[in-house]
Amino acid sequence: MNGGENLLAEVREVNLSYLLLAQRMLNEDYATAVFRLGFSKEVADIVRRLTLSQTVKLASSTSLLCRFRFDEGALLTALSQDALGGVLQQAHTTLLLASQPVEQIG
């Protein structure tokens, strides 16, 4: 078994799961999904309208399609430090993600 090939297959699998999950979420409750995914309206509409074959094609990339949403060091530091034993961490994470810029095109 080739370890590298295995990893790439997993990347594709994550891509496909990600796109399918995003589509399901968007179809179920659009606004809530946009919030959870951190999409802009444009990205959300394109992802929602992808056909199955387009989705599969897009997912077959060997680079991950979803991005890490904390791209500021300060943010990550704030979250990983435990204030009050970490009881506020989940709320803090949501709060910070909500004020982050959304995934944009262009």
Binding site: Y30, A31, F35, F39, E72, A78, V87, Q90, A98, S99
Partner: protein, 191 residues
Amino acid sequence: MASKSVVLEATEIRLAIELIGLGARLQMLEAETGLSRERLVRLYKEIKGVSPPKGMLPFSVDWFMTWLPNIHASLFYNIYRFLERETPETGVRALMGAYRLYLEHVESGQEPLLSFTRAWILVRFFDGGMLQLSQCQKCRGHFVARAYEPQANFVCAICRPPPRACQGRAVQSFVQPRTAGLRPEPVASMA
């Protein structure tokens, strides 16, 4: 009100039912729907089984400035602002959506620290220019603050909790983290 559209009225009743379900007080229902007070009182009784609470709304900016309420209010308002800015939901719809997302952070069965009516008042305070969001210099998050308060050295209530912050109260007011990947155990249905 004789010539009111039946469809419009049905839409407003549906909205009122949703609002009551989330815990809206009568004053909020009156402001957000075009239904008469009398109808709203009847609707409220039918849904909740009790008369709507009387009295004034908790109308004070100070409450939002205290430590734990400030965290809850900031969490809610950040979500609300996101929905208003990035989704087609606006106004009372965004308010409901944001409040439902906020409730995910409250332990089920617990009374949420930020009530739905309070959340509504919070948004009105912002609209009225009485409150602002200040950016924390440590975590870069935005938190509810009094309007025109200097922001230069602002550090938020999470990054710098007050010395006598009660951890127990904070624990009780927020849902505790579940390990990623594990499904929460099914909870007995709530009343």
